[in-house]
């Protein structure tokens, strides 16, 4: 894959490279060679399908009528906003996102702070905290469903405490197991938070301690501001991830046995609706319109969060000197 270097020249003109036109041209060409694997695949398997999908979302494509596609204008998009199921599922998705994003961002950070303590065997705890996030979602979902079924471990525990068993997977409570299951994987962010925490210079804490700052003051005045870039990154990634929640509600469904199983109504999220339209009903054009609306929502939300970043994200002055 790595082509033999077309050089062997590299004029050695002294220690400091002067900005010769030829040299920076060669460097630029090499840059394009280096990024070409990503760029070519991005164009062919990212950009082209993306735009092709955008085109199809304006047609009546139904999976079989490729040779007599009809352009339907914004009809599919109009339908998104008049389809009760789409709007309901969007509402559920936004609700789950609204609960999950702050919770998982803050809890993930607090877990990392806990794991950043100078304590014996901290590596072991780090591993235990991180493990849930590496377990494949198929296993996670199946596991939690069996824990929450009517005669499952959770209800057994409630009964042994003299409490009434709860219909966890039923209509009234279905969101609880879903949120618990999603929160169980909150340790996934700790690696990135730890990276941020370890990047905070020890000198700052020492200086603050000498000045008489308490542990809490040091945490609020030093730790939190200095890791806001990481919090910001995780916040955005959590928003993007939450809006796309898809498979966990399906796995919690009573008789979940395929990706086309229907979650119970309160867990009927937006991606499931889009997936159903495409794979259960063959409404490709409409399904793609649903997905494009989701994509645009993610973009808009990300831009909004970015525009607030100046207010709360602390950037060190030196950004790699650039």
């Amino acid at each position: 894959m790595i082509r033999p270097a077309a050089s062997g020249t590299a004029p050695a003109l002294g220690a400091k490279p002067k900005r010769f036109r030829g040299k920076s041209f060669k460097e630029a060409m090499e840059f394009y060679v280096f990024i070409s694997p990503w760029f070519v695949v991005f164009v062919l398997l990212g950009l082209i399908p993306l735009l092709y999908g955008l085109y199809l979302s304006f047609t009546n494509y139904a999976g079989f009528n490729m040779d007599r596609l009809k352009f339907v204008g914004f009809a599919n998009y109009h339908k998104v906003f008049t389809d009760n199921d789409a709007m309901y599922s969007l509402g559920r998705t936004l609700l789950i996102t609204g609960i999950m994003v702050p919770l998982s961002t803050i809890l993930g950070f607090l877990l990392a702070v806990l794991l950043n303590q100078n304590i014996k065997n901290i590596g072991l705890y780090r591993t235990l905290f991180f493990i849930p996030s590496i377990i494949p979602v198929v296993a996670v979902g199946t596991m939690w469903r069996s824990l929450f079924v009517d005669d499952g471990v959770v209800n057994n525990a409630l009964e042994s405490l003299g409490l009434q068993p709860v219909d966890w997977l039923g209509y009234d409570y279905a969101m609880v197991p879903l949120l618990i299951m999603l929160l169980w994987g909150v340790g996934g962010g700790i690696l990135i938070y730890l990276a941020g925490l370890k990047g905070v210079s020890k000198d700052l804490y020492e200086a603050a301690a000498i000045d008489g700052a308490t542990a809490l003051q040091r945490f609020v005045k030093i730790t939190v501001p200095l890791v806001t870039p990481v919090l910001f990154f995780q916040f955005i990634m959590n928003i993007i991830g939450s809006l796309q929640i898809f498979v966990q509600p399906i796995l919690l469904a009573a008789n979940s046995n395929s990706l086309l199983s229907l979650p119970i109504r309160p867990n009927y999220v937006y991606s499931v609706h889009a997936f159903q339209q495409i794979f259960a009903y063959g409404r490709f054009g409409y399904g793609l319109a649903l997905l494009w609306v989701l994509f645009i929502m993610i973009l808009v939300l990300t831009v909004i969060v970015f525009s607030t970043s100046k207010l709360w994200v602390f950037y060190e002055v030196d950004q790699e000197g650039r």
């Binding site: 840059f31 694997p37 806990l114 199946t142 069996s146 990154f233 990706l259 997905l291």
Partner: protein
């Protein structure tokens, strides 16, 4: 904060209590999965094991075509780990060490692809691949792999950017080409990042790549991640009775490679992410 109240006893007790309580919360569901996998088929779920039936594991691999699915998983995972781990490093090197017009725009473009819900491109890709004849083959994974992954490229880029410029300047003077610099100087010192990227790609592929196989492959080419989802463990002849104990055993076998890889590579994992020094 790092050593906040290190000599403060009540504080330590709180920390230890929290650590132990949270560890239990994070591990107990898995313990229960393990317990359930050796319970008598059809028994009610309990917290403490009441029997020890290893034959559940035998059923797990014989009731469905387990080894065939495992083989498919291995093929897809091998493609999706080996190739992008290398190509992402190559691309990341370009973004970290070379200057060219348009670089910042391209880097932002690359990062923004992380925001794109994969399914938005996968459905049109299906239509395109159907025309080319890639459906029900592993070729799609090969071509996706060639481009690397945005997050891996980002990790490599952050890591490579931390070295002083002298590193390649000295080598350039010695007549070393940029490609040799990448291959002989930068790759050998980036083992923590390589391990991190490989582990994360392994988890992503072995464990969580189930939708694309569902779309692009037929049943007998499904990897385990998809098969365990859509081909359940049911009582022979009775589709409605799921054998949850056997299913648990099948899931344990499926999860095992992930745990093993994680423990083998975990000492690199933190180091890899930390040394990439992610900052905004």
């Amino acid at each position: 904060m790092v050593n906040a109240g290190a000599r403060n006893k009540p504080f330590r007790i709180v920390i230890y209590t929290l650590l132990v309580a949270l560890s239990i919360l994070f591990v107990v569901p898995l313990y229960w999965l393990l317990t359930n996998s050796v319970q008598t088929v059809g028994s009610a779920s309990t917290f403490w094991p009441t029997s020890f039936r290893l034959e559940n594991y035998k059923y797990a691999v014989t009731l469905i075509d387990y080894w065939n699915f495992a083989r498919n998983s291995i093929i897809i995972t091998a493609i999706s780990v080996l190739i992008p781990t290398l190509t992402s490093a190559f691309v990341g090197f370009g973004f970290a060490r070379l200057r060219a017009p348009g670089k910042n725009v391209l880097f932002l473009l690359m990062l923004s692809t992380m925001m794109l819900p994969a399914i938005v491109t996968q459905i049109p890709t299906y239509v395109i691949f159907f025309k080319i004849g890639f459906i029900n083959t592993f070729w799609p994974w090969f071509f996706w792999a060639l481009g690397g992954s945005a997050f891996s490229i980002f990790l490599y880029r952050q890591f490579f950017a931390t070295f002083p410029k002298d590193l390649e300047e000295a080598a350039t003077i010695d007549g070393c080409s940029t490609y040799r610099i990448f291959w002989n100087i930068f790759l050998p010192i980036s083992l923590p990042v390589i391990a991190t990227v490989a582990i994360l790609s392994f988890n992503g592929s072995w464990g969580n790549d189930y939708i694309t196989p569902f779309m692009f492959l037929q049943n007998d080419k499904y990897p385990l991640a998809t098969a365990l989802f859509s081909i359940g463990y049911v009582f022979p002849g009775q589709k409605d009775i799921t054998l949850t104990q056997v299913q648990s055993a099948g899931l344990i076998l499926f999860v095992l490679p992930i745990i093993v890889v994680f423990f083998l590579g975990q000492r690199y994992l933190v180091e890899g992410v930390v040394s990439s020094a992610i900052k905004g």
